[in-house]
């Protein structure tokens, strides 16, 4: 019972700070994408303000609530968002929610694939480094980790396109096939983008896993386990990895934001029609409703997933609850 109560307090406390952060995120998003900006009226008129009368401009401003004070504008926008009304695109005759709805699953799939690749290889590399601490294998994996986390995704992506789509045409250089239309083709198109996106996180996770495992391995109960004759595999993986799992999970959650950010560039390289491409195009075309909605949704989505991962980490590893509190 006591453990349960502790877990509930932990969950609620994390939820409370997440809610505060989400609120502030929405204010910042609105401020940056709507208030700092050049006048959106010219975007709607396609840069032809001269052709519109002062009345027309005033009417557009009024219909967009641009004549109201900031808190009122924010209130109107956020209540719209909360009731699922994201407005209409300035550039295309489409609802914003429709456009985002089409792009979101694509990015979700790309990010998920990259995450799976990154967790698998990152944790594996980190385990090799920790198990062979200060030996050649450790030096090699550590060196590889630095290289992987330093390589910018746009360079890696372009390099992979050149090597594996142009020199040796194994994979398509870009494009997308919906998963439910043809799963095999879909994965085939996703190989290069997912590897590109994952690379930096393999390096990151490898380093994190290595350092956390080294800390665990230096603890006394590990020495005791070795001394009592347990096999090396049981000690390293059974004991060591079990103890590190919670922290690794939380680290994966913390890296999620930059993974999603990286997806924007990766999608641009491989012309994947996801959220990143939509965001980049909307920014180039000054399509305000889409920009604000995307920035908000992505950030809030990442924040909520991070919260879930945090709580999961607390469930797996009780020590993390105490640290966070």
């Amino acid at each position: 019972m006591e453990v349960q109560a502790e877990m509930i307090t932990f969950t609620l406390r994390r939820l409370l700070s997440t809610v505060v952060v989400v609120f502030l995120v929405s204010v910042i998003t609105f401020y940056v994408t709507r208030v700092v900006l050049p006048d959106p009226v010219s975007t709607i008129l396609g840069g032809q303000e001269s052709g519109a009368s002062a009345e027309q401009i005033a009417q557009i401003r009024q219909s967009l609530f641009l004549d109201r004070p900031f808190p009122v504008q924010y209130w109107l926008w956020i209540t719209g968002v909360l009731t699922g009304n994201l407005g209409r695109s300035y550039l295309r005759p489409q609802d914003v929610s429709e456009m985002i709805g089409a792009a979101l699953p694509v990015t979700f799939e790309l990010t998920l694939l990259a995450l799976l690749i990154a967790v698998f290889f990152g944790v594996a590399l980190g385990m090799v480094g920790a198990a062979r601490h200060n030996r050649p294998a450790d030096t090699i994996t550590s060196g590889a980790s630095v290289l992987m986390l330093s390589v910018p995704n746009f360079f890696l992506g372009v390099l992979l396109v050149y090597l594996f789509a142009m020199i040796v045409p194994l994979f398509p250089s870009g494009g997308y096939v919906p998963f439910f239309q043809n799963p095999v083709q879909n994965l085939y198109y996703m190989v290069l983008p997912a590897v590109t996106l994952a690379m930096g996180y393999i390096g990151n996770l490898a380093r994190f896993t290595r350092s956390i495992l080294l800390r665990v391995y230096s603890e006394e109960y590990i020495t005791r386990a070795t001394a009592s004759g347990l096999s090396r595999r049981t000690v390293l993986f059974g004991y060591g990895l079990h103890s590190a799992a919670g922290s690794i999970l939380v680290a994966v959650g913390l890296n999620l934001a930059s993974l999603v950010g990286g997806a924007v560039v990766t999608e641009a390289i491989f012309s994947v029609p996801g959220v990143g491409t939509l965001l980049a195009n909307s920014i180039l075309g000054s399509d305000l409703p889409v920009i604000s909605a995307l920035v908000l949704l992505v950030t809030v989505g990442v924040t909520l997933i991070t919260w879930v991962v945090d709580v999961l980490g607390g469930i797996i590893d009780p020590r993390l609850r105490a640290v966070k509190a």
Binding site: S17, L24, S150, P152, F154, F155, T299, V302
Partner: protein, 299 residues
């Protein structure tokens, strides 16, 4: 290891200065490699006017989109400009904006962190919630939104790149201030009547030299990455002055015919990021008392 940070700092400095360059290189390979790599890139950018065979801004309608040759090592672009010269010149803006942003992000972050750490309660809560909120945005997406809102200019990109780096430093410094607040030398300073500003500047800040130095290196690397990503997405520095991110983007279209136009600036961005990451790691080794003892034992 419970060596107080200050004495560890001194303990490292003395033996190193006695040991000579080669020993230093041997003891801190990452710091050495990183610094050498960065020096090379800086040198290349500074010497661009001497090294570049052509004017990077000179259009030449008679020589557009030439393939790489002895005359134009990387070929020419759409306007007939020599790409190799543009790559050499492109380092200046790329590195300049990164260092400027890395330093300003650290300075602002340190100031916010010091204030939040010094004033528990309302001030701390406000600053920290704000930092957490900024941190909640994927850095690139925040940078995109800011540079979109402020328009395409040097300043707007500088702000966009800097803002997303501030929170980590601020939170790090705040944590450090909190840890130092319980130490005896801070207590004794306070008891002897030092103002909180004096405690901050004379007692706390000097004890954070190490983490701050590491943070500058990491923030600068991050700034290179973000500004080049912005350039790749078409929100970079305004033309015509070259920068590596923009060159990569411009060259991508011609990847099949002139791969080096795109891969060369990309590789330089990679090397710059590698240099700053190695320097960050190297500085951590350098400041870490445990590394020192390990080196000593090994010798």
């Amino acid at each position: 290891m419970t060596i107080p940070r200050t004495s560890a700092f001194l303990a490292i400095k003395v033996p190193v200065s006695k040991r000579g360059v080669l020993d230093f290189v041997w003891a801190y390979p990452r710091l050495t490699c990183g610094t050498a790599l960065l020096a090379l890139l800086v040198l290349m950018s500074v010497l661009a006017p001497v090294l570049a065979p052509y004017d990077p801004l000179q259009n030449n309608p008679n020589a557009t989109l030439l393939p790489p040759s002895g005359e134009h090592w990387l070929g020419t672009d759409l306007l007939g400009r020599d790409v190799w010269s543009r790559v050499l010149y492109g380092g200046k803006d790329t590195l300049y904006i990164a260092v400027l942003s890395g330093v300003s992000a650290t300075v602002i972050g340190v100031i916010l962190g010091l204030i939040a750490g010094q004033r528990p309660g309302a001030v701390d809560t406000v600053i920290m919630r704000a930092m957490e909120s900024v941190l909640a945005f994927p850095s690139l997406i925040l940078a995109l939104a800011i540079s979109f809102a402020l328009g395409s200019s040097f300043t707007s990109i500088l702000i966009a790149v800097t803002v997303s780096s501030i929170p980590r430093t601020a939170m790090l410094v705040r944590g450090e201030v909190r840890a130092l607040a319980n130490r005896k030398f801070v207590d004794s300073a306070r008891v002897s009547g030092a103002s909180s500003t004096r405690i901050m500047m004379r007692h706390e800040l000097p004890n954070m030299t190490e983490i701050i130095t590491v943070q500058v290196a990491l923030d600068t690397g991050q700034a290179i990455f973000i500004s080049a990503s912005l350039a790749f997405l078409g929100l970079g520095l305004p033309p015509p002055a070259p920068n590596w991110g923009g060159l990569l983007k411009d060259g991508y279209v011609f990847l099949a015919n002139a791969p080096l136009q795109c891969l060369a600036p990309g590789a330089l961005i990679f090397l710059a990021l590698l240099a700053f990451n190695l320097i960050g790691d190297g500085l951590r080794d350098y400041f870490d008392p445990r590394t020192l003892s390990r080196q000593r034992i090994r010798r």
